[in-house]
C-alpha cells in the first residue's frame, strides 16, 4: 500500500476527531470536492511531464491567457470563443515540448519564463483588470445537490488521463525516459517524439481542464499571478508519489495526492491558525514530500 493512503486515512481520522461536527458536514464535503477539482484539473496534465523527469509550470498561464482570449474573442466568435482555452493549451504544450527538446533548456526555467510572459501578456490584453465573461454559467449549473457539476465534468477527463497512462504504451515509454533517458534511446524509443508528446499531453489536459476551471473559478479572466496557485498542483503531484526525478507514478497517483492535500488544507482552514502559518506549512509539506519521494535514489545527479 502506498504511504500516502495511510497519511490520507490518518488525516481524515485526526480532523474527524478534532472537529467532529464540522469536518464531516455537508458544507465541508462540498468545499473539499470543489477544491479537489481545482487542484486535480491543474495537476493532471503536468503529471505526464513529471513522469519523464521534467517540469511544466505553465498551467496557470494557460488558464489566465486562455481566459483573457475568451473575453477578447467573445464579440467575434460568440459562444465558440471558449475553444481559445484548449487552443492556448495545445499551442503552449507543443511550443514548450519543441523548444525544450531541441534547444535543450532546463524545462522548469523555460516554463517559468513562459508563465511570466503569459502573465504580462494577459495583463496587457485585459488592460490590467479582471474581466468578467457572461454566458458560460451552464457549465457549472448544479445538477445533483452537494456534488459540484465541475466534479462530474472532470470525471471523463480524469478517466482519459488514467486510461492513457495505464492502458497504452505511452506509460512504458514515458517511464523509461524518466528513469533512464540514454537507456531509452538505446532501446530504440524515439525519445524526442515522446518528450514532445508528454508536453503536448500536458497542454491538452490543462487546456480542457481550464475550460471547466474557467467557470468553476468565477467565470472571469484573471490577471494576478500568485505563488500559491503555482505551488499547490506541484504539491499534489509530489505528495501523490510521482517523484520529481521521474520514472514512476502517473495521473492516478496525482488524484491521491490532490485529495490528501485538500483534506490537509481544509483541516487547517477550519482551525484557528493564521493564514500565513497555513502558507508556511504548505511549503514545509512540499519539501518533506519531495524528500520522501526522492528516497532511495542513488547515483542520480540532481541539480
Amino acid at each position: 500500500m502506498h504511504p500516502v493512503i495511510i497519511v490520507f486515512l490518518a488525516l481524515l481520522l485526526i480532523f474527524g476527531i478534532i472537529y467532529p461536527g464540522r469536518f464531516f458536514s455537508a458544507i465541508n464535503f462540498k468545499a473539499i470536492l470543489r477544491q479537489f477539482v481545482t487542484l486535480t484539473l491543474f495537476a493532471l496534465g503536468p503529471t505526464f511531464v513529471v513522469v519523464t523527469g521534467r517540469l511544466d509550470l505553465s498551467y496557470i498561464g494557460v488558464w489566465m491567457l486562455g481566459g483573457v482570449l475568451v473575453w477578447l474573442f467573445k464579440p467575434i466568435l460568440g459562444m465558440l470563443s471558449i475553444i481559445m482555452i484548449p487552443i492556448t493549451g495545445i499551442a503552449t504544450g507543443l511550443f514548450i515540448g519543441v523548444v525544450q527538446t531541441k534547444a535543450k533548456i532546463p524545462s522548469f526555467i523555460l516554463t517559468l519564463s513562459l508563465l511570466v510572459t503569459y502573465t504580462g501578456l494577459t495583463a496587457l490584453l485585459a488592460g490590467g483588470y479582471p474581466r468578467a465573461v457572461d454566458g458560460y454559467e451552464f457549465i457549472t449549473t448544479s445538477l445533483i445537490p452537494l456534488i459540484p457539476t465541475a466534479f462530474l465534468l472532470s470525471i471523463p477527463i480524469i478517466t482519459a488521463a488514467v486510461f492513457l497512462m495505464k492502458c497504452t504504451r505511452i506509460c512504458v515509454y514515458l517511464n523509461a525516459i524518466g528513469s533512464n533517458e540514454e537507456g531509452a534511446r538505446l532501446a530504440g524509443i524515439n525519445v524526442d517524439k515522446y518528450k514532445i508528446l508528454a508536453f503536448l499531453l500536458s497542454g491538452v489536459f490543462t487546456g480542457i481542464g481550464a475550460i471547466i476551471l474557467f467557470q468553476h473559478l468565477g467565470g472571469s479572466a484573471q490577471v494576478q499571478l500568485k505563488l500559491d496557485s503555482i505551488v499547490w498542483p506541484l504539491v499534489a503531484i509530489v505528495l501523490g508519489g510521482t517523484p520529481l526525478t521521474g520514472g514512476s507514478g502517473g495521473p492516478q497517483r496525482t488524484l491521491l495526492g490532490a485529495i490528501t492535500f485538500t483534506i490537509f488544507y481544509r483541516g487547517l482552514y477550519l482551525s484557528s491558525l493564521h493564514p500565513t502559518m497555513v502558507t508556511l506549512l504548505v511549503g514545509i509539506v512540499l519539501i518533506v514530500s519531495i524528500i520522501v519521494s526522492a528516497r532511495g535514489l542513488k547515483g542520480v545527479t540532481v541539480t
Binding site: 495583463a123 519539501i287 540532481v302
Partner: protein
C-alpha cells in the same frame, strides 16, 4: 583578387565575433538599449537619469552576483527575492530594539536559509529549483507573520545613510554594488573556491573524483548566495527607506534573466560574476527606462520573460550536454 581578400577579412572578423559572442553580445545589447531609450527619452542619460539607473542596478547587482554562483554550479535558487525581502523586513522591524545589530542579524538569517537550501540539494537530493521554491514559500509565510502585512518606514538616519550618502557624485550604494561585484569576480576567477565552483558545474562526478568535497561545496555556494541576497536586502531597505511584504515581488525572472543575459549558461560550468554586470545593466536599465516612460509592469514582465527564454536558448552549449531535464 581584391574581392577575395575582402571576403577573407570579413570572414575572419565574423569568425572572431562569433567566437566571442558571449562577451561581445551583451555589450552590443547594452549599447542598443541605451541608444533606444536615449532617442525616445532625452533625459535618460542626464545626471538625474543616471542616478536613477545607478539606484536601480546596485542592489540588484549584489543579488545577481549571488545567483550567478548558484547557476555556475548548474543549480537554481528561486528564493533570492524572498530572502531579500526577509532581510529588508528584519532591518526595518527590529532597528528600534537592537539598533544597527539588525544588519548582522539579517545576514545570518539569510546565511542560515542558504545553508538549508544547500543541504536540501546536496544531502537530501531535492532538485534545487523545488527546494528553493518550498523555502521561498516558507520565507513568504515568515515575512507575512513578522510584518503582519503593514507598510513599515525606516526611521533610523544612520541606517539610511548606508546607501544614500553621496560620494563623488554617486550614492554610496553604487560603491557597495561595485565592491561586491569586484570581490565576487576575484572569488570566481582567482581563488580555489571559484575554480571548484566551475568544476562542480562543469562535471559534478568528475569534480567529486578529483577530491572536491562536492556536498560541502554546493552548500557553501548556496550559503554565499543567501548571504549576498541578505546584503542586497539590507542595502535595499537602506536605499528605499521602507517597504512591506511586497518587496521583491516579480523579481525572480528579471534576476534570472540578468544572469543569463550576461552569458552564464544554465547548464553550469561557464560564465561568471564578471559577466553578470552587463546582464544586470541590460535588465535594470530596461526596467528603469520603461518606468521613466511610464510603461507598466505587464509590458516589463512580458519583456523579461521573452529575454529569459531567448537568452537561455542563446547561451546553452548544446554540444557538450546530452540530457537536459
Amino acid at each position: 583578387m581584391m574581392r577575395e581578400k575582402l571576403n577573407a577579412k570579413s570572414g575572419l572578423s565574423l569568425e572572431l565575433l562569433r567566437r566571442n559572442m558571449n562577451t561581445v553580445g551583451p555589450i552590443i545589447f547594452v549599447i542598443a538599449v541605451v541608444a533606444i531609450f536615449q532617442i525616445i527619452n532625452p533625459f535618460f542619460l542626464s545626471y538625474h537619469g543616471i542616478i536613477t539607473l545607478v539606484y536601480a542596478m546596485s542592489y540588484f547587482l549584489i543579488a545577481a552576483c549571488g545567483l550567478t554562483f548558484v547557476i555556475m554550479t548548474g543549480s537554481f535558487d528561486f528564493s533570492v527575492p524572498s530572502m531579500l525581502k526577509l532581510s529588508a523586513l528584519i532591518c526595518v522591524l527590529y532597528i528600534e530594539k537592537i539598533g544597527l545589530l539588525v544588519i548582522p542579524m539579517a545576514l545570518i538569517v539569510c546565511l542560515g536559509f542558504g545553508f538549508i537550501n544547500g543541504v536540501f540539494l546536496a544531502k537530501f537530493k531535492v532538485p534545487s529549483f523545488l527546494a528553493t521554491l518550498g523555502i521561498s514559500i516558507v520565507l513568504e509565510g515568515i515575512a507575512w507573520y513578522l510584518s503582519k502585512g503593514h507598510l513599515e518606514i525606516m526611521q533610523d538616519e544612520t541606517f539610511r545613510s548606508l546607501a544614500t550618502t553621496f560620494i563623488g557624485g554617486f550614492p554610496s550604494i553604487f560603491y557597495w554594488g561595485m565592491g561586491v561585484w569586484i570581490i565576487c569576480t576575484f572569488l570566481a576567477l582567482a581563488t580555489a573556491f571559484g575554480r571548484r565552483t566551475y568544476a562542480v558545474g562543469g562535471n559534478l562526478e568528475g569534480a567529486g573524483l578529483s577530491d572536491i568535497n562536492i556536498i560541502w561545496h554546493r552548500i557553501k555556494v548556496f550559503m554565499l548566495c543567501g548571504f549576498l541576497s541578505g546584503l542586497a536586502g539590507v542595502l535595499y531597505m537602506s536605499q528605499m527607506g521602507g517597504g512591506s511584504v511586497k518587496i521583491g515581488a516579480d523579481m525572480a525572472i528579471p534576476l534570472f534573466a540578468s544572469v543569463v543575459a550576461g552569458g552564464t549558461a544554465l547548464t553550469g560550468g561557464m560564465g561568471g560574476p564578471h559577466r553578470t554586470l552587463m546582464g544586470v545593466i541590460i535588465i535594470t536599465w530596461i526596467q528603469a527606462g520603461m518606468a521613466m516612460l511610464a510603461i507598466g509592469n505587464d509590458v516589463q514582465m512580458l519583456t523579461f520573460g521573452l529575454i529569459a527564454i531567448g537568452m537561455s536558448i542563446a547561451t546553452v552549449d548544446r554540444k557538450r550536454i546530452k540530457i537536459v531535464k
